[in-house]
Amino acid sequence: MKEGEKGASSAAARAEAVRVQRLREDAKRPMSVNLAEGIALSHKLIRISEAARKT
């Protein structure tokens, strides 16, 4: 593996480790908090999709 590839691979592994750590932290929060956040994110996603569809 070349140096650049090694670096990219290592950065991806670090990013994945951070993502998994966040998942574990979120899983410890109250379910109501996570549900409310998921709903808020869903609303944003739908608004973006609707806006893209109209343009």
């Binding site: 998942l23 109250p30 996570n34 609707e50």
Partner: protein, 158 residues
């Protein structure tokens, strides 16, 4: 759809005493894999009275179901569609309510409800399927996205 309001949709279902369990993307979020989803997936008790309540809440929220050429937009017609036991996506002004039924790997309402956890949203309590049921449903669905969700659920619950 006007403005999406999944929380309001859940509140209306709960206030109408609809027997339902949240599954799918919102259940993923509730269990810590917080992400956006385009619909509210629920499994409902399949008795006639409950299906009627689901249909009434949906129609009061401007709900309709497109079935081929036919547009179902009355409580009676939507309740009849639900009574077929097939999956029924209902488009409402508050967002899409996807009534999940008749799919392989989806436990019955009674099974899901008996293992569900409760969460508060807009001052009402809603049942969210257990993480084990959610994982089982993702495993059974088996699409790339479902398997990625399954991996995230496993990571979140490690």
């Amino acid at each position: 759809m006007n403005e999406p309001a999944f929380d309001e949709l859940l509140r209306r279902l709960a206030e109408a005493d609809v027997e339902f369990v949240v599954v799918g993307g919102l259940a993923m979020s509730a269990w810590g894999v917080v992400r956006g989803t385009k619909d509210v997936d629920v499994v409902v008790a399949p008795n006639v009275e409950n299906l009627k309540k689901v249909a009434e809440v949906a129609v009061a929220a401007g709900g309709h179901v497109q079935q081929g050429e036919a547009l179902l937009d009355t409580p009676v017609s939507i309740a009849a569609a639900l009574a077929t036991g097939e999956q029924v996506p209902i488009e409402t002004d508050l967002g899409r309510l996807d009534v999940v039924q008749g799919l392989d790997g989806v436990p019955s309402y009674e099974e899901l409800r008996s293992r569900a956890r409760e969460a508060e949203i807009l001052g009402v309590t809603v049942a969210v399927c257990s993480i084990d049921d959610l994982k089982a449903m993702k495993r059974a669905a088996g699409r790339t996205r479902d398997l990625a969700d399954l991996e995230d659920l496993e990571s979140a619950s490690d």
